[in-house]
């Protein structure tokens, strides 16, 4: 009789605990998210546009530096195709933080990229170091996909070349 209300108390406590303690990502979630990051690097480094597209949710937004946001599949295919048609890149990245709750996760880290132009008569951009913030969401099939992706260089834009000196 003394424990008459114990099950009810457990039920209420369980419910309250659930409400007040958002569930962090599980180790399995983190492994899956690292897998998406690895697949992203592989797709970029092999120039695989469709591979990149498959990693992004249909409603995702990609925020490249010095270019407008690419929202949705058509704009993103155009963005990736444009980038990869001109150059080959060797991209490496280091995730610093992988965190999130439930079906939402974010990855923060640093990247290093070396680019070479397919048209070798054109000058390649210098190697670049930068940082990224990517957001992923668990899909209805349990997979994780990017819903927002942002990156930018750590370097200031290069100063314009000085005008050529006049000769007398």
């Amino acid at each position: 009789m003394r424990n008459r209300f114990l099950p009810l108390a457990i039920a209420l406590l369980a419910s309250a605990a659930c409400q007040s303690a958002p569930k962090p990502l599980s180790p399995a979630d983190e492994t899956a998210i690292r897998g998406v990051s690895d697949a992203f690097l592989a797709a970029v480094n092999s120039g695989n546009v469709e591979g990149l597209m498959a990693l992004h949710a249909s409603t995702s937004a990609v925020l490249p530096p010095n270019m407008p946001t690419a929202s949705g599949a058509d704009a993103q295919r155009q963005l990736w195709t444009g980038m990869m048609s001109q150059m080959r890149v060797t991209l490496t990245s280091t995730p610093v933080t992988i965190a999130g709750q439930g079906d939402l996760a974010y990855v923060v880290g640093n990247y290093h990229v070396v680019s070479t132009m397919k048209d070798t008569t054109q000058a390649a951009p210098p190697p670049d170091d930068g940082k990224f913030l990517n957001v992923l969401q668990r899909q209805s099939d349990g997979s994780w996909k990017y819903v927002a992706e942002s990156w930018s260089s750590n370097a200031e834009p290069p100063a314009p070349a000085p005008p050529p000196a006049r000769r007398r």
């Binding site: 008459r4 925020l63 270019m67 439930g102 942002s150």
Partner: protein, 169 residues
């Protein structure tokens, strides 16, 4: 009486199971959405008032600001210094931060993507610089929403500073 106790115990176990599966996360309410959006408006107001400290106060103690074409700034003091430097480099350049184009809220985390623009130059010759932001906003133990990560960049390369004039001999 016994059936009531069994029902309560069953509910308790079901609640715990749902919790384990992440099926009972705290709801993200419309009040949360409004609170997250108020951070955007407070940022805009503080920046346009030239108040770098007030901007920095909108970030949590672990925050990272990730501006385009510059290294990340980690922690409120570094963020304050970065904002102060930006205000000094671009004085009289008001910012307008657009509302969310993409929004995701879950538990104590919100993700917002949106546009912004900065207006430079004088009123006779204003220049509009468009950009976009992606932020992670977290609700703290005190119930306040603050920026944890703030990534932004302009949509076009920023005009670089002109090179220094050649030294006279």
């Amino acid at each position: 009486m016994r059936s009531t106790r069994i029902a309560a115990l069953t509910f308790a176990l079901a609640s715990l199971a749902a919790c384990q599966q992440g099926g009972n996360q705290p709801a993200f309410t419309s009040a949360d959405s409004l609170a997250v959006d108020s951070v955007r408006l407070a940022w805009q107001t503080a920046y346009n008032a030239g108040d770098a400290a007030a901007v920095a106060a909108l970030y949590d103690s672990m925050a990272v600001n990730m501006p385009g074409d510059a290294p990340s700034q980690t922690g409120r003091e570094a963020i304050r210094a970065g904002i102060a430097a930006q205000l000094a480099a671009m004085p009289h350049a008001p910012i307008e931060i657009g509302a969310a184009a993409h929004f995701n809220g879950f538990g104590t985390t919100a993700i917002v993507v949106g546009p912004f623009h900065v207006t430079t130059g004088d009123s006779a010759h204003p220049t509009r610089l468009d950009g976009k932001y992606l932020v992670v906003v977290k609700r703290g133990q005190d119930g306040k929403w603050r920026l944890r990560y703030d990534a932004s960049s302009f949509d076009a390369p920023m005009p670089a500073s002109p090179p220094p004039p050649p030294a006279r001999h």
